[in-house]
Amino acid sequence: MLRDGQVGTCGVRRRTGDVLETATFASVMQHVDANERKPFYHFRPGGRSLTLAAPGCTFACGYCINHRISQYGRESSVAWNGQPIEPAEVVARAVAEDADICFSYTEPSLALELTEAVVALARPAGVRVMWKSNGFLTPEAVDRAAGLVDAVNIDVKAADTAAHRRLTGAPLEPVLDTVREFARRGVWLEITTPLIPGTSAAPEQLATIARTVASVGAQVPWHLVRFTPTYRMTGHDPTAPADLAEAVRIGHAAGLRHVYVERALGAEGRATRCPACDETVVRRGVWQLETSEIRAGRCARCDHPIDGRWN
């Protein structure tokens, strides 16, 4: 419980008397880009989303490329650069640009109130709302969020809680609980794992994570992200393409149907294959849909269902 005047650990909430104030009814930018970039590969491919990012994060990952916005409230060097958000204006712009809305770049669960306000207007307008989240939510927050968002991509950054705590400052189990609950509630789910040295990059660590994802569902797309040395983790090399190729093999060996690498393995790393006939049914550029052979959620060649929310 915060004392009167005290700011929370994440630096974006403050108690003032009997009122809990939030700094997250704001965004550091509003721009439209591809759903594939979040990444969502099986949710409205080829669609675009108006991206919002309220400053702050519940994690303090040493490899965070977005640290200049995510670490607001944690790092004194990170200045406030958010602008107040008017949900009606956000939804109107999404409608005008034929876009959905995605909360990304920072931790959207800190902007749960903003998400609620946006969804209240977006849903009647036919605009979907997505989160790119670290998954560190209380069960109560998951319950609220699962009724709001249409799709979520959650980072699973470690195979065990000790490594996860070293990297993020938080335990792993709540993240996995969040993953399972979103899936149980029918929210479209994709998982991202960055190959972090010492945390998730070793084959045995990746195998553990892959089995965990597969236990949620073989249909869950698993995105593997190349480690980039930056911020407080500059003493390591970038992930080698061969290591990403091995991680893909590990994912398939765990039973996952759809394992992706955005860049390092070329177009093949981004392609969706039909689990039945093995034909390529979706081809993607780095951040855009190129061709889709999915018709009404099925492979156009063999009619096998392909998991996703395609429209």
């Binding site: 880009d33 990012a53 990304s104 770049y105 980039t228 090399d237 970038p238 080698a240 393409p241």
Partner: protein, 69 residues
């Protein structure tokens, strides 16, 4: 002090096919253009802090950056 501004898109100067040739991430590529408003330097690098240090040494008011996600 240089301010960082998130932008939706910047051109790539490094192709993923080059990753294997630079396993330590030592590659930085720059494109310098003269524009009506001055000189524009586009940079791409495998180690962001190295690229940022290089660009910051030129003391620009602003560096545009793509965020991850």
């Amino acid at each position: 002090m240089t301010r960082y501004e998130g932008v939706p898109e910047l051109p790539d100067l490094i192709d993923a096919a080059e990753y294997d040739q630079h396993p330590d991430g030592g590659l930085i590529r720059l494109r310098i253009s003269v524009t009506p408003s001055g000189v524009e330097i586009l940079g791409d690098g495998m180690r962001p802090e190295a690229l940022e240090a290089l660009l910051e040494s030129l003391e620009p008011d602003e560096i545009e950056q793509m965020w991850c996600g």
